[in-house]
Amino acid sequence: MTATLVPTAAPTSPSSFGSRHPLARVALRRIAGGILTLFVLSVLVFLATSVLPGDAASAILGKQATPDAVAELRHAMGLDRPLVVQYGKWLAGLLHGDLGNTAAGYAAGGRSGVWDQISGKLGNSLVLAATVFVPVLLLSLVLGVLTALRAGRWLDHLVTTVTLVPAALPEFVLGTVLLAVFFTWLDILPPVSFVAPGASPFATPETLVLPVLTLVGVTVGPATRMIRAGMQEALLSDPVAVARLNGISEARVVRRYALRNALAPSIQVFALIAQYLVGGLLIVEDLFGYPGIGKELVDAVTVHDNLEVQSVTMLLATFYVAVTIAADLLVMAVVPKLRTGGTS
């Protein structure tokens, strides 16, 4: 239904000279656009964490701090310099891969790099995300293709309904229900995912189960739906009809003709899941006390560590934009007709 509302993409006609590498050109344009977006974002993020009330120095020292102590900390953090200088220093650092120091470190009298603070947690989050990805990938591909082949039958209805329910719930609601079942009643899983600093979450796999179950439950429904739609569209396409008319066996038609065309939209599905996880991890890691980047960001916001918030936010946004661009380019690489802007 929304399809009718989406304006058709303006035909971005390639220059009359044509190009031998249309994909490379699109790639360059998308990456340039991504960098521009990130630049605009960096200004917004910096302004939001610097200009508005809630100076990091006074927030960290608390209300009892003497004005002298606040001034000293402001100086150490570089907050007494003009905003443009602060922004330039921060951006230059980011471009060199330096995320700066945490405000908490300054408050303690020393310095602690944001990267040192978050690198282990970033690793934990990547482990969690990867562990979510594998089952979602397998489940949604199998269920999506199966339901498309059995569209309108009982299996289709069953899968659609069963996967819709957890997907419609807020993450923390689903997580709470799972907690009640597996901790309170069955008592087989820990309520808090404690992972020792420096240790791999795989060393204590039971800490991963509930966060992974929650995130899989939330994502598998939409992923299945989108793959089902892509597969259904492929099954109705002309090549499939011609192949059937030629008497090619249905199994071969599905495998050789339909599946391949259905694969392209599913790349987008997995990009969407990766993007969703950036936000989803915030809630789930907080709920289960899982020491990842999401919980780290929530904690930094809670204690007003503006310096850490701005760097972590930019890191997440960069990942987000990179996934978007990579997925678009991958789809274009798989479906050649998209390269010229939808002149099918």
């Binding site: 989406v6 939001a48 719930l169 609601v173 229900v177 915030l282 987000y320």
Partner: protein
């Protein structure tokens, strides 16, 4: 003459009638409607019939269910039933305000932009791109850093995030309608811009726009509940389903209902909107 021209206008189906005609056809649609009525009733009328004050400590923290307190007590020894009954209003209210505010502005700007085919589009595209380069929750967290904790900032931010996509949807729908013959006829018989927008275009884009508004409301509920759960929105001692799940986490073993009932009602609300939305979308296919 004008009566003659008027007949070219597509027939308008009143939205309420369309809703009534469509919803109950499928089982999941009916379940959705029933759940929605149930949760909205609890949310809107609940605060009027609480057995205790939702803010008063009446016993030992996380005490289990008794005859006087059928859902037990929460982490401060307050009556869970009373808090559940009062905790839905804020969920519906703040999400509703955010969605309404976004739509009030978005509908106006989108209609004008679509009808006048203005320069607004490239600006909107860029703005949406920047907002899309960001998980909404991270954006809210960033604003919470800027404005400090509190529900006002969260509601404003939620409305802001939704504004660009709303303008885009309304704009493209209005643009499509503005090229139709009945709009030309209205202009030809001398209707003013405002009148064309209100009497010709608006009724014809009402259905897709209403469906979108429903989904955005559900999205607002999810987002605001998420921020409340993280402790960066509504502050204690407010009774709110999202906040209740968060603050009673320590008692999941002692009195599970202190968390579960609020979680279930919140889940029922978002599930209901999704089921209804599905039923409506299925009806238009």
């Amino acid at each position: 003459m004008s009566a003659l021209l008027k007949t070219y206008s597509p027939r308008r189906v009143p939205f309420g009638a369309a809703l009534r005609r469509r919803t109950p056809k499928t089982l999941s649609g009916r379940i959705g409607l029933a759940l929605l009525v149930l949760t909205l009733t609890v949310a809107l009328l609940g605060p009027l019939c609480t057995p205790y004050s939702p803010d008063r400590t009446v016993g030992i923290p996380f005490a289990g269910p008794t005859a006087g307190h059928p859902l037990g007590l929460d982490f401060l020894g307050r009556d869970v039933l009373s808090r559940v009954l009062s905790g839905g209003l804020s969920v519906v209210l703040y999400a509703g305000v955010a969605t309404l505010a976004a739509y009030a502005v978005g509908l106006t700007v989108g209609l004008l932009a679509g009808y006048s085919r203005s320069w607004l589009e490239p600006l909107l595209m860029r703005l949406t791109d920047v907002l899309l380069a960001f998980p909404a929750l991270v954006f809210l967290l960033l604003l919470a850093t800027a404005f400090g904790r509190g529900i006002t900032g969260v509601v404003i931010a939620t409305a802001l995030i939704q504004l660009p996509p709303i303008v885009r949807i309304v704009r493209s729908a209005a643009l499509e309608q503005s090229l139709r013959g009945y709009v030309e006829a209205a202009v030809a018989r001398g209707e003013g811009t405002l009148s064309v927008l209100r009497r010709e275009i608006l009724p014809n884009i009402a259905r897709p726009v209403a469906a979108d508004a429903g989904l955005r409301f559900s999205w607002s509920v999810l987002l605001i509940a998420g921020v409340n759960f993280l402790g960066l929105g509504l502050q204690p001692p407010a009774a709110d389903w999202g906040l209740m799940v968060s603050e009673n986490r320590g008692g999941i073993a002692l009195n599970p209902s202190s968390m579960l009932v609020a979680a279930a009602l919140l889940g029922a609300l978002t599930l209901a909107i999704n089921l209804l939305g599905d039923a409506l979308a299925g009806g238009t296919e």
